[in-house]
């Protein structure tokens, strides 16, 4: 069929964000569309840039910890952890046994809290309003546990080079156990609302497929990569802290669509709960902070990169230290979201504009992680 003379469809450019209800912060996409189909997508970043890496160069190592809290505030614990690990590696600091357990407990609880935010916002982006509140209800319990320990609910400043800042209060373990006992049934509830829901399945299945080779090529990590069937998790492949002592599975997906990413994260919450349970059973008594001179800490010259698995993939900190300096020469932060955002133009091509929201939600992109 030939098109009538003078009639042709024009490509249509839509600007989504930076202020838009479903871009999870200040992310901006310039979307070129043919009808409702996306032909080209360009992420525009930088709206949340706070020059954290530069700020780090003007602070001592202990003072940098609160800065890392702001790096990726959904899982501030893991940012603390990544920086502390790098510092310890640089100066060869020993961490006491009890502190290691406390770190693992906090990291995994924080991973659950972060996934709960993802769960709530994903449902919200697809128009289901109720799961959001459910997710935040459980997150509240976790935040109570954090508040009980370090007095903070979002930016913890808890994991420090050489250990942790405070010991847990005696009522922490019973409260945590109570939370874990109820948590599996709570996840069952979430799954009842969404997993089997035909509308949810049609919105997510075969949408935003990321083949494993594309994921690897763009250095996507974390649950988004595992959903494509790549069994890669730094907790297992490059164990840090004491992760080699715990039993846990790595849930993986098959096709790498939005639905697989959903299932992987849901399973991951269960696995994290399993790790926390093992950790609170095994936790020994003892010191919580190793030898670390916080006022006058001067690491030997050198450079170090240490990486951990946080809820959005690989989080890495690179430190370059000069001889006899209290402050690092250069700090580089690497967050998982950056690569997840980078792969969006590839996997969004040919998707509908309404799918953009679903894909972004399933990638679990958070902007402070991208912009730093």
């Amino acid at each position: 069929m030939s098109e009538p003379q003078g009639l042709h469809t024009k490509e249509f450019t839509l600007n989504v964000g930076p202020i838009h209800p479903s871009t999870h912060g200040v992310c901006r996409f310039v979307v070129k569309m043919e009808g409702e189909v996306i032909t080209e997508l360009t992420p525009v970043i930088g709206y949340l840039h706070r020059a954290l890496e530069k700020i780090c160069e003007n602070r001592t190592y202990e003072q940098i910890i609160p800065v890392t809290d702001r790096f990726e505030y959904c899982t501030a614990m893991s940012c603390n952890m990544a920086f502390s690990l790098a510092t310890e590696k640089l100066a060869g600091i020993e961490v006491p046994e009890r502190a290691e357990y406390l770190r693992v407990i906090m990291l995994e609880l924080n991973r659950i809290a972060s996934h709960l935010i993802w769960f709530g916002t994903t449902a919200l982006d697809l128009g289901a309003l109720t799961p959001f509140l459910y997710g935040f209800r459980e997150r509240e319990d976790i935040l109570d546990l954090f508040e009980m320990t370090c007095g903070q609910r979002l930016t913890f400043n808890y994991i420090r080079p050489g250990g942790v800042s405070k010991d847990i209060p005696p009522e922490f373990i019973p409260k945590c156990r109570e939370f874990l006992d109820g948590f599996n049934t709570k996840i069952d509830d979430y799954e009842k609302v969404l997993t089997g829901n035909p509308i949810f399945i049609t919105r997510n299945k075969n949408v935003g497929i990321m083949p494993p080779d594309v994921g690897i090529a763009y250095a996507v990590s974390g649950p988004a990569l595992r959903a494509s069937g790549v069994k890669h998790d730094l907790r297992r492949d490059d164990p840090y802290s004491i992760y080699d002592r715990f039993e846990f599975d790595l849930p993986t997906g098959e096709t790498g669509d939005c639905y697989d990413r959903y299932l992987v994260r849901i399973q991951e919450m269960r696995e994290s709960a399993k790790i926390v349970r093992q950790a609170i059973e095994q936790i020994p008594e003892g010191e919580i902070r190793g030898k670390f001179n916080k006022m006058n800490f001067k690491p030997p010259a050198g450079e170090v990169y240490s990486r951990i698995e946080n809820s959005r993939g690989e989080m890495g900190i690179y430190i370059q230290a000069a001889e006899k300096q209290k402050k690092p020469l250069r700090v580089k932060m690497r967050g998982g979201s950056y690569n997840q955002l980078q792969v969006m133009p590839v996997i969004c091509k040919g998707a509908k504009i309404a799918d953009l929201v679903a894909i972004m939600a399933s990638m679990d992109i958070i902007m402070p992680d991208v912009d730093r």
């Binding site: 839509l14 209800p21 479903s22 409702e36 449902a123 919200l124 982006d125 697809l126 128009g127 289901a128 309003l129 109720t130 959001f132 509140l133 459910y134 209800r137 609302v193 969404l194 829901n197 509308i199 949810f200 049609t202 919105r203 509908k352 504009i353 309404a354 799918d355 929201v357």
Partner: protein, 347 residues
């Protein structure tokens, strides 16, 4: 406590004043219209509060609690607030279209109640084309939405308005076809006749297996889609379209859209009760209580949908209507016709 007698008494009182018959009828009509208007306004105020309560309890919250007992006059307070708001009008709107669209939607929503049988003898006008009239009148809403989308001079509003047009036109078909299967059995379009044919509980169309329940489900899905509520609330999908066709409206104009949505929801439930649940029929309690009670239960079901389901994607929505709902509705109609022909339900 039947209200039929009361209205009859008032009418006779009016007639005994010696006014000419034409005047008596006119006054009675206006008075009745005001009563219905007042009643619907009251119901809607209550429904807004109820929706907030239902959503709150689904989400493990309390909802409004400060204004009165469990916040019962929250909506009144909100309405007063909205009345006081400055009416913001964007500079480049198409003025007449922009101004009239909330009015069109609001009036269309109310007009359906002319033929609504609230109880035994409680109907403003028992038109012999009752149900057809309702189907026609409720479609007016779509004109209002298109006007709002076009007049606002905003991309999102326009997309929202267009989506509503496509959606409502598509879902009108299965809705009308499922209504047809009921009309086929009753043999009349009059709302009163439809209710009268379901006097006994086993005669309710919802219990006339298998076509009754199927027609009800089709009607309910299409009805929810017509009122633009979740899972079919694409015209106002906030994640994609900010607020859809009413993005540029604020203050009282916005609240007219908002209240019209609730009136439409009540209308959909009330028609479902009339068609499938025996209308005002029920034991012990007066008829109007039965009608309103049944309607509120259905309204609750529709609210329940909203707070449980995610939203469909726009192309899935169309596929669902055209490839599934419409064929099923037609098959159901044929089934109903066969059953009518074979005299299956000749009690």
């Amino acid at each position: 406590m039947e209200l039929k007698g009361l209205f009859k008494y008032l009418y006779e009182l009016l007639a005994s004043t010696g006014l000419p018959q034409g005047w008596v009828d006119l006054i009675a009509m206006v008075a009745l219209a005001l009563v219905v208007f007042g009643f619907i306004a009251l119901v809607v105020l209550y429904l807004v509060w109820w929706e907030r309560k239902v959503s709150a309890h689904t989400q493990q919250r309390l909802g409004p609690m400060r204004t009165g007992w469990h916040g019962w006059y929250q909506t009144v307070a909100d309405t007063i607030k909205l009345l006081q708001k400055e009416d913001i009008r964007p500079a480049l709107v198409d003025r007449p279209v922009y101004f009239w669209s909330p009015v069109v939607i609001f009036v269309a929503a109310f007009m359906a109640y002319v033929v609504m049988p609230f109880g035994d003898g409680l109907i403003v006008a028992d038109l012999n084309i009752g149900i057809l009239y309702i189907v026609a009148i409720t479609s007016f809403t779509i004109i209002g939405m298109l006007m709002a989308g076009w007049g606002s001079n905003n991309k999102y509003s326009l997309l929202g308005g267009m989506r509503s047009a496509a959606q409502v036109v598509s879902y009108e078909i299965p809705m009308v076809v499922s209504i047809c299967s009921i009309v086929l059995f009753v043999g009349s379009l009059s709302m009163v006749d439809i209710v009268q044919s379901q006097a006994k509980i086993y005669q309710w169309f919802i219990f006339r297996l298998p076509f009754g329940p199927l027609a009800f489900i089709i009607y309910l899905i299409a009805g929810v889609a017509e009122t633009n509520r979740t899972p079919f609330d694409l015209p106002e999908a906030e994640q994609e379209l900010v607020s859809g066709f009413n993005t540029e409206y604020s203050g009282m104009k916005f609240s007219m859209f908002f209240l019209a949505e609730f009136i439409n929801m009540f209308t959909v439930a009330a028609i479902a009760v009339t068609l499938f649940f025996g209308g005002w029929h029920g034991p012990v309690l007066p008829s109007w209580m039965w009608f309103i009670g049944k309607t509120l239960v259905l309204v609750f079901v529709i609210m329940w949908f909203r707070w449980t389901y995610p939203r469909l994607r726009v192309d899935h929505l169309m596929e669902f209507a055209w490839k599934f709902l419409i064929p099923v509705a037609f098959i159901n109609l044929i089934l109903a016709a066969l059953m009518k022909y074979s005299g299956w339900f000749n009690w």
